[in-house]
Structures are given as C-alpha cells and as structure tokens.
C-alpha cells in the first residue's frame, strides 16, 4: 500500500511539475500576478510529493519488500541497515528518484529564499526548473519506474554490488547529485534572464551563490568518490580517468569557470554573454554526465546500469534543454552588451584566462571521453583513450592555470599593474623555487614530476597567502595583522580555496611520482622491507562478516624495531552477489599512508602481497576539503545574505 502511495505521489508530482512549467511562465509573459504566484506553491507541493515517493521507496528497502523489482535486484535481508538505506540510490531507478528529489529541493529553495527576486524573474526561474522536473519525472515513470511490482515475490534479494557497500560510497552519489542538479539553478536563472532580456549585476549576484553551492557539493562528491576508489579498489590509485569520473569532472571544471565569471558580471557588468553561455554549458555537461553514466554508451568499469533505450531518452532531454537554451541565447545575444570595460592587464582579463583554460581543459576531457565512441561510429576503428592520454593532454592546461593564478588573483579590477603584482610575489617565487630545488636534491634518478608539482603547488598555496596579506594594507605589521581578522569572509574563502588547489596539485604530483610499490610472495611469519619500514605477515585466517566471508591477514609494520601499525588487509567474498572484493588495510599518516593488499594463496604456500607507501595521500583529500571550505566561507559572506537583491551596492563603503 505504501508503495502504491509512493507511485501515486510520483505521478501527481509530474502533474504538478507540468503546471509549474507552464502557467507561471505564461503569467510572467502576460503580467498576470495570480498565475505567477502559482510557481512557489507548485514548487513546494512538488517537493512534498517527490519526498513522499522517496520515503515510500526507502521504506520498501528498509523492510525488504521483495515484491518490488528494484529491491529484489539491489537488496538482501542480511545486509546492514546503512546499506539497505543507501541501496535506495545504489541503483539506476532509485538514483534517478534521488536526482528528481534534489531537483525539487532546489526548486523549493528558490521559492523559499527567493523573496528578494523580482516576481517575474522568480516565476520564470521556477518554470524552467519545472520543465526540467517534467522531463526527468517523465523519464523516471516511463523508462525507469522504481515502483515496479513483481507478480511473484522471491524470498530474498540479490544483494547490492559489494563494491558499493561502503560508507564512502553511501554518501558519494547524494553529494554528486546535489552538485549536478545544483547547476540546474544556474541554468534556470540563465534561461529566465534570456527570456526576460535583462542581465545585470544583480543577476550575477543571484546566480553566484547557487553555482557556488553546486560547486561545493561537486567538489565533496568527487573527493569522496576518489577517496573511495583509493581505499576500496585496492590499487592505491585515486583517479582513473574513467568515463564516469570524467562525467563528474567536466561539470566541476565548468562550474569553477562559471563561479569566477559570475563575479565579473556582478562586480563589473562585463562578460555577460559568456557567463550565460557557461551556465547553459555547465548544466549541459551535467546532463551529458547523466547520459554517459545512465546509458552505458561508453563502456566503463562503472557500467552498473546500461540500457540504450534510456540513453536515447536522456539524449532527447539533453538536446531539448541545451539546444533550446542555445537557440534562445543566439536570439537574445543583443541584450547582453557589456557595460564595464577593462584593459588587457586586469582582474577581468585574468578571469577570462582562467575561464578559457578551464573550458579548454573540460573540452579535452570531453573529447577524450567520447573519442572511442567517435572511433567506433565515424571512423570504424577500435580506439581507447585512458590515463596516459589525459596525463599528457590535460595536465598542461592545469599547469598554465596554476601558474597564472597567483598574479591573476592579485591584479586590480579594470586596469592592473602586472609588475606591481609580481613584485609582491617575489618572496613566493623564491620559496617555490627553493622547495623545488630541495625536491630535486632529495630524490635521485626519479621523474621531475615530484619536484615540479611541489614547486607549482607551493606557488599557488603561498601565492594565496600573499594575496591575503596584500589585502591588509601597508601600515605596519601589527595593524595589518589586526586587519586580517576583519577581512570579509569572501576574501578568506578565495584564499582557502586557492590554497586548497595548490595543496591538491602538489599531492597529485607527489602520489604519482613518489609512490613506493612492492609486489611479492610472503610466507606466514616472514618479514620484508618496504621503504624505511619492515612488514611482517603474522597470520591469515577466515572470518565471517554479516553478509560476507573474509580471508583476513594480520600484518605488523615496524620501523627500526618499533611497531608502527598492525593492519588487517582482507579479501572478501559476498556469496549472494557472488563477487570477491579486496579490502586494503591502510595506516593513515600525515606524511604517508601505508597501504597493504592481501592477494591469493600461492601454490608454494605463501601469499601474494602488494604493499605501497603513498606519500602525502591525505593532502589530496585535505586540499579538496579546503577548496570546498573556501567555497563555503565565500557563500557565508554576509554581503550575499544582506545585500542580495540590491541592484548596485555603492562600492567603497565597507561591508559592515
């Protein structure tokens, strides 16, 4: 019964979305206040209905209602409760329901927090949001209905893919979707502004918090996914340039570009057309990402759900929204004249450079991702594109971006002085060069990647610190220190996010360059050296988990005789899903992770063991976290809460 109520609620939500997509838009066109006023309540009602449907599906998973097809194929009575709940979105149908739920949450958030938006703009934004809702609710109900009943309910389910039974991955999809779908807000604002025919500073101010929020969620979601790959897949890798990873990375790159260019719209009333285009493309790439993941058109290790019929439907949604928005964009290009002018050397130009590099980088990822498809369909050739290509073709743009970031971030608006900016960065340059030299000195006969990454990372990180310091004026040390605390949160946010990027760049290079790997056969009781450590395989035993069987090793890591860690790498078998997994054992540390993987028993009696020292691994996730934190700081700047909606803030007046 509850399941039927959920199903019914979902159908009602589609009806409500149809109303939300049409009537307020029409009302805004004709100036009918009553029709426009429908938008808010419709968005709220849509959220309630979708939430009810989601709750019904969750309930079905929690009580293991095996009359539902999705529950049978993705759950099992013996599964721990956390994974029964996360199983709701661990499959195609449920994850799309989550997608629609988050879309409805964003829509309702505009209705609630958008009090300071002009009525017409608000009605149009909510209508566009409603259209996206219609498309995805229809997709859900027509091709991927999670409430599909089975005529004969089996006694037990087929279990969730064991790789997905993991706390890191339980929360990875919701964050990623909060990001993907968050970009729909930027899209809706862009389309509404195009219909309206007006884009001004206030528009930039409204759209930026939403973009920022989406970008924060994407950052966390991608970091969680990468962390999961690191500890779960057992190769010690953190990024595989897999199509599905790329699908989340492309919107991230464009969202990063968008949130920078929206600053220019807001502060300088320039780059309007470009920002609108970015907003459309960022959401377009979210849809492309959904298409890549959900259609399985590009084969990938992630292909949990592949079905060409669904792919065609999503392709139609993609074509309608991106195509429609681009046509609208072409028709309205005239209204987006820039007001603010700027010189070649200026903060605006630096942001343009940032945008070009991020967009090109995104395009490189895109073409690399679809190239095998192009090869197959147009060239008739079997082609693969993987990590070696992306390392070679993508990295240069990121290096260029990192090099221009510190001086670019310090340039003045409108017309800057590059020499003055660079002079302030001389100490940073010296420090980065010294660290790079130190890196070269401490390693012999290895790739230059490590020291270069160290130098570039330090340049970005300390450049951000110098940027912050430069903002405190020039009136003596104590004065400047005091002023540091009074700087607006947005300044702190900028520095934190840029610093986080520097740390991430360094950690990526360090992990790729300085990783130590050891593969060997180890007898029980035997000790082997790993870098500066000694590792002993103490014992291997069989252990029974709640829904799996485990072969668990116990390994003691020592350094000069002192015990550093006792680790238990496992090999698990999930009998219901008939799938083996490796559970690496990791000793997390500030400077390095020790990463042990237990392999197969050998004919000779020993065990195959893979061990790694992963240098600065935690700096990678730490850097990502700092980026997200920077975004959060910027989002919490009171200027956004207080002044949102004010057409133009008189510049020069302190924000207090």
């Amino acid at each position: 019964m509850i399941v039927e109520l959920g199903h019914f609620a979902l159908i009602l939500a589609l009806m409500v979305a149809l109303v939300q997509a049409t009537l307020p838009l029409w009302g805004a066109q004709r100036g009918d206040a009553r029709l426009m006023a429908l938008a808010g309540p419709a968005a709220g009602l849509q959220l309630m209905l979708v939430a009810a449907a989601f709750a019904a599906l969750t309930w079905a998973f929690v009580v293991s209602d095996f009359s539902l097809a999705v529950v049978v194929s993705n759950s099992h009575t013996a599964k721990p409760m956390l994974y029964k709940v996360s199983g709701v979105w661990g499959n195609h149908e449920g994850s799309l329901l989550l997608w629609v739920l988050i879309l409805a949450i964003y829509g309702a958030a505009v209705a609630v927090f958008g009090g300071n938006l002009p009525v017409r703009l608000k009605a149009r934004v909510l209508s566009v949001q409603g259209m996206i809702g219609v498309a995805f609710l229809a997709f859900l109900l027509l091709t991927s209905n999670p409430f599909w009943r089975l005529e004969l309910a089996p006694l037990d389910g087929q279990d969730l893919n064991p790789l997905l039974q993991d706390p890191g991955l339980a929360f990875h999809p919701p964050f990623l979707y909060l990001g993907y779908v968050g970009l729909s807000m930027a899209f809706s604002f862009a389309v509404a502004a195009l219909i309206e025919g007006r884009i001004d500073a206030a528009w930039g101010r409204w759209v930026r918090p939403w973009t920022l929020a989406a970008w924060i969620f994407l950052t966390i979601g991608i970091a969680l996914g990468s962390w999961w790959a690191y500890y779960e897949l057992g190769w010690g890798g953190f990024w595989f340039w897999d199509p599905v990873e790329n699908a989340s990375f492309m919107p991230w790159l464009l969202a990063a570009a968008l949130l920078h260019s929206a600053i220019v719209v807001e502060k300088r009333e320039s780059l309007k057309a470009w920002t609108i285009l970015l907003a459309i493309m960022a959401f377009g790439f979210s849809l492309i990402g959904t298409f890549i993941v959900r259609s399985g058109v590009i084969t990938s290790v992630h292909a949990f759900a592949n079905d060409p019929e669904r792919g065609v439907f999503i392709l139609m949604i993609l074509g309608f929204f991106t195509g429609g928005a681009l046509v609208l964009f072409a028709l309205r290009a005239g209204v987006m004249e820039a007001r603010g002018v700027f010189a070649l050397v200026s903060r605006e130009s630096a942001i343009v450079a940032n945008n070009i590099l991020l967009s090109v980088a995104c395009f490189v990822v895109f073409i690399g991702t679809i190239w095998p498809l192009v090869g197959q369909m147009l060239l008739g050739r079997d082609l693969s594109v993987g990590e070696p290509f992306f390392n070679a073709a993508f990295t240069p743009f990121m290096v260029a971006l990192a090099l221009i970031l510190p001086p670019g971030a310090m340039l003045a608006w409108k017309r800057g002085d590059l020499r003055r900016g660079l002079r302030a960065l001389v100490p940073v340059m010296v420090l980065a060069a010294a660290l790079m030299a130190l890196g070269f000195a401490m390693q012999t006969g290895r790739t230059a990647l490590g020291p270069l990454g160290l130098g570039i990372g330090a340049w970005v990180l300390f450049g951000a610190v110098a940027d912050l310091w430069a903002r405190t004026g020039r009136e003596g040390f104590a004065n400047r220190f005091g002023r540091l605390a009074r700087l607006p949160r947005a300044d702190w946010g900028k520095v934190t996010a840029h610093g986080g990027l520097g740390i991430t760049i360094f950690a990526v290079a360090a992990m790729m360059a300085w990783k130590v790997e050891d593969i060997r056969v180890v007898q029980v009781g035997e000790t082997f050296p790993l870098g500066r450590y000694d590792v002993r395989l103490d014992e291997v035993r069989e252990v029974e988990g709640p829904n799996y069987l485990s072969t668990m090793g116990q390994m003691t890591v020592t350094r000069n005789g002192a015990v550093v860690a006792v680790l238990s790498p496992e090999k698990r078998v999930y009998p219901v899903a008939a799938m083996p997994t490796t559970e690496a054992a990791i000793d997390y540390g500030f400077w390095r992770d020790i990463y042990l993987v237990l392999g197969d028993k050998q004919k000779s009696g020993g065990w195959a063991v893979r061990s790694y020292i992963e240098p600065f691994a935690n700096w990678l996730w730490g850097g990502c976290l700092l980026m997200a934190l920077g975004g959060l700081l910027s989002l919490s700047d009171r200027r956004y809460r207080v002044a949102a909606g004010v057409r133009r803030l008189p510049a020069g007046v302190p924000a207090e």
Binding site: V341, A343, I356, L357, I367, G599
Partner: protein, 157 residues
C-alpha cells in the same frame, strides 16, 4: 531455525568461496610474472600501464585480472628480455591485438583531431578574447586621461 539457515548459508558460501579462489586471481601483476632485473621490470610496468586489456575495456593490463592480460604481461616481458626496445614491444602488441589496446592513441591520421583539439581551442579562445577585448576597450581609448579620472570617480572604483 535461524541457526540452521545460517549454517547452510555459510556452507554454500564457503563452497562458492572455494570456487572463486580457483577461478579469479584478485591481484593484477603476480609476483611470479615479475622479472628479476629491476630496470627491465620497471620498463615492463611502464609499458603495461599504457596497454588496455583487450577483453575488459576500461582497465590496463597492469590492473586487469583477465587471463589474456596476464598473457600480454608475460609477452611484454619476454620481448624485453629478448632485447626489444619499448617501441618495438608496443608495436609487437599492437600488430597482434590492434590499435584499440593503446590507451594513448598515436597522434597520426584522424587521432590528430583528438590531440590537437585542446591546443586549437585554446588558440581560438585567446583570439576571440582578444578580439572581444579590443571591441570593449575601443571607446575607452577615446577618453582623455582627465575624462577617465572623472569617470573613475563617478564609478567610485
């Protein structure tokens, strides 16, 4: 009742476990494949990180558990020991399994589009930005320094 069910479950499970242990090696590169010479072994690893497992799409033969990947890893080591250069080894594999095994398509023919897409787009982006910037700053040049200062004051910037 519950205990009985669990017992059966554990039995079946250990049976399946035994089957799986026989069928699938969990690790990719096995200790017994590795060459004694660390320099040759490092070259072998570097090569096998650029070759796709022919039957499993997204994985390199370095990561893959498929038997064919193991064969390929052994072939690569055989060729290296025989004295082939890295290029010769890669050619040897491509000749037998097709260009699809290369994770980094060779920059020739249609693949040039893939390789040049980024740089070309970058140049185009810079050109468009400079052209747009010229248009944008053009009226600015008409203003005298005095006017500009006044404008600056009006804009309070």
């Amino acid at each position: 009742m519950r205990g009985a069910r669990k017992g059966c479950w554990a039995n079946c499970a250990s049976y399946i476990l035994a089957l799986l242990l026989l069928a699938t090696p969990v690790l990719a590169v096995q200790p017994d494949e590795m060459l004694a010479d660390p320099v040759l072994e490092a070259r072998a690893r570097a090569i096998s990180r650029e070759i796709r497992c022919p039957v499993c799409q997204g994985e390199t033969i370095d990561d893959s558990n498929a038997p064919i990947s193991r064969d390929l890893r052994l072939i690569i080591r055989e060729r290296l020991v025989a004295g082939d250069s890295d290029e010769e080894v890669v050619d040897y594999v491509v000749d037998r399994y097709g260009e699809g095994v290369l994770f980094k398509p060779r920059p020739e023919g249609a693949n040039l589009i893939l390789w040049l897409a980024g740089p070309v787009l970058l140049l185009a982006g810079i050109a468009v930005a400079i052209a747009a910037g010229r248009r944008r700053t053009a009226p600015d040049a008409v203003l005298s320094a005095e006017d500009e200062a006044r404008l600056e004051e009006i804009l309070k910037k």
